[in-house]
Symmetry: D2
Subunit: 264 residues, 4 copies
Amino acid sequence: NGKMVLFSGPCAVESYDICAQIAETLIAICSELDIQYVFKASFDKANRTSVDSFRSVGFEGALDVLARIKANYHVPIVTDIHESYQASPVSEVADALQIPAYLCRQTDLLVAAGNTGKTVKIKRGQFMAAEDMEYAVNKVKSTGNEKVCLTERGVSFGYHNLVVDMRSLPVMRQFAPVIFDVTHSVQQPGGMNGKSGGQREFAPYLARAAAATGVDGFFIETHPDPSKALSDGPNLIPLDKMKGFMEMLKTGFEYGNSFNNTIL
Amino acid sequence: NGKMVLFSGPCAVESYDICAQIAETLIAICSELDIQYVFKASFDKANRTSVDSFRSVGFEGALDVLARIKANYHVPIVTDIHESYQASPVSEVADALQIPAYLCRQTDLLVAAGNTGKTVKIKRGQFMAAEDMEYAVNKVKSTGNEKVCLTERGVSFGYHNLVVDMRSLPVMRQFAPVIFDVTHSVQQPGGMNGKSGGQREFAPYLARAAAATGVDGFFIETHPDPSKALSDGPNLIPLDKMKGFMEMLKTGFEYGNSFNNTIL
Amino acid sequence: NGKMVLFSGPCAVESYDICAQIAETLIAICSELDIQYVFKASFDKANRTSVDSFRSVGFEGALDVLARIKANYHVPIVTDIHESYQASPVSEVADALQIPAYLCRQTDLLVAAGNTGKTVKIKRGQFMAAEDMEYAVNKVKSTGNEKVCLTERGVSFGYHNLVVDMRSLPVMRQFAPVIFDVTHSVQQPGGMNGKSGGQREFAPYLARAAAATGVDGFFIETHPDPSKALSDGPNLIPLDKMKGFMEMLKTGFEYGNSFNNTIL
Amino acid sequence: NGKMVLFSGPCAVESYDICAQIAETLIAICSELDIQYVFKASFDKANRTSVDSFRSVGFEGALDVLARIKANYHVPIVTDIHESYQASPVSEVADALQIPAYLCRQTDLLVAAGNTGKTVKIKRGQFMAAEDMEYAVNKVKSTGNEKVCLTERGVSFGYHNLVVDMRSLPVMRQFAPVIFDVTHSVQQPGGMNGKSGGQREFAPYLARAAAATGVDGFFIETHPDPSKALSDGPNLIPLDKMKGFMEMLKTGFEYGNSFNNTIL
């Protein structure tokens, strides 16, 4: 409907209390700024660089936290799935299923997600041309489910580095609404001795650039104290900065979407 | 043991007869050239560009063909798995499980493969620095299974294109034996209007370059008639060219492995 | 002084009349929108893909046209130089000397340009990390000339393709004011059978993105009829679209520069 | 004539004595191994990262050293030129003029080099598709000079990194003989705080790979003591390792050129 969307929460389900603190803060911000809010947290970090990294508080436990957030705060929930058997149980709690970037070509996973009838949010692979994401969208739509959106998070540019090609945003909006992933666009894959690093200092620049290019919403991971986050700490936006950040993006969102781009 | 290895077969299990024809031909070539041969075919093509592409003759049917090839020709079998539930049933037939490139960071899949006790052959992600493949190897080894090998097939270089960085071969050999994938290194992802294209004409150049750099073996998809292959036709090596091709690579393999590379 | 700057004109000096038509139109637009205007045209296209491409109306003739534009319209002039001997004669007409991207590491050229005392506008090489442009700036400043600005026009991303990494803009602004080159950022080097191609349709998206990221001004090539332009036609902005284009960028410029970016 | 060629010497003309020591050593090696030898040294390093880096012992002085090496050792000489005015005086000493990679599209420079009637050796730009080097070759041939060769030294792959795409070698051999630049293919541009770094340890791998792919010769910078070299030290091959290195490459050269590559 043209309203700006925010998918946001902690990277992983760490505890009910942290999830609740974040949900409460973001609900208030989004209400004030007329933004549609969706709570995000991963129940499992299935592709960490190292086998020793934190993954999860457990599948059941994490889904239970998500269900309580949903019930207590009346917010829709998005979380990611990694194998097709997860689609059905996760969809009992989640309103939207996110397909991780590495898995955006896995037909079984896309079809299983589509079959739940929930919104399917596909992250663009770091190895995929934007125009090829149409095939991923079509795999979901082959199930009869038309509720699909895409997410930009940068493409491989040499080693240990991603670059955001802003041309991808209008290319992918031809196929589905497009969300800009602020957090993972400043990730530096693998570069930190068994963990991925990040460049949080570039987040406001890239987020404004994406807003001005034209997108349908944003994906932002946040934490009350990023230095204590169990995953992706170097690229999280501190929770107490989220209000200023969203005000900035709301202005950019309106600017970027005020052109029909047929100027040329 | 230093003997050159060849993983080869059709891209997908199309029929018993084609599999048998290929196995018979390659067994003879490898016997003559003193190469260790492993029959390869996929039971399912799980990440085709388009949902309409050929995937499989069916899970059960394809495994049955692989089992008959193994029984009738006394060759070890490698095939790829895509979700962790497949590791156990597939390992009843396969001697080696291949992890697809897009999935090389999926911890559950690597651990499930490791737990079978079979050899795990991990393809390097098109988005991974060679040195980060050590973490993938370690995920398998965390199960106590030390039988791991890696496979090079090119990294993302712009859109619809892969480039083989030959430096990756010695980097990855620090962690595990390295196989050079001749077929997918000349693939052009997504470029062909809903299918991946390929540049078969570059296969001999890249294969010789990899051999001279130094590898432990090769992965080559072949077909009696590539123009009729149900998958990856543009980059397959015709079966009747395989003998000359392997003679060429055997010479290069010996050249590449005759240096200790501490020359500098 | 924080005022938005526009460097704009035809790609090459084709004739006095076309230059005059463009200067007159852009002077009026910039006056209305409070933009500082600099007239740009190349006296020679020294690095065309093919030796048969149009280069110039001649060194003397082209400088003469630039001098007449300057005298008749009272606008400052920027033009590019390619070898160090050109710096001195060109600086008799030009107020700013542009160093082409391929030449941004040529010490003699940078020093010769610096020695003229004119503003030196250095385009970032398609092969240079943004932070390494500090060395190019320092080569000019080694002459005692502090009037330097940098220009972003995309970096090599695979073959026949450039990508604009918006992170480069704040990185380079640490060293000097940064101009975003709208025209060449949508160029496709070499791809068109002996000529470079272009994607004019992406120009408004990338220009807005750069504005929102934060820059000091823009470089835009224009022509009354791009289909008849003697160089770079596929990426020129039509002259009659320039007013709407500049209104769009002025809004983005103010948005992008209204943050101190210490939000995080 | 199909004989392997070696262009080799110190990076820069540091002194007559070092040049003479290198020439004498390499002449003996090439004579023993039936390799055609060309002495290489730069009279000026015109595009160092930083303005403070060593450039030259002076134009006249450096040309004089090259002339004495030529006279005393009866070897042909190659050196690079950076602006068109240098072509004529340098060609009085040099038998081949090398066009630096950044300058491979500069029409005036290529034409000036062509007009000397000497061999023109063009390095491929780090930003150029291999097939586009045909236009650079044609710029030289437009002068009536058919003596052109091309040199591969890697393309931009992300920041501070080059990758050698071995497919480029057969592509460029369609237009002219191709030399593989061992030294600069392992360069890391700009990465070392104002200097370019290098990865000498990869030189034997990439050199063997290029040899096996198929080339006409090699370009290798060497020094009796790389740690004391005034330029490019981290990627030079120590002079006392050159004999073993060339033996290795001679074998690879014969292997790579023994196929007509119409196998497929």
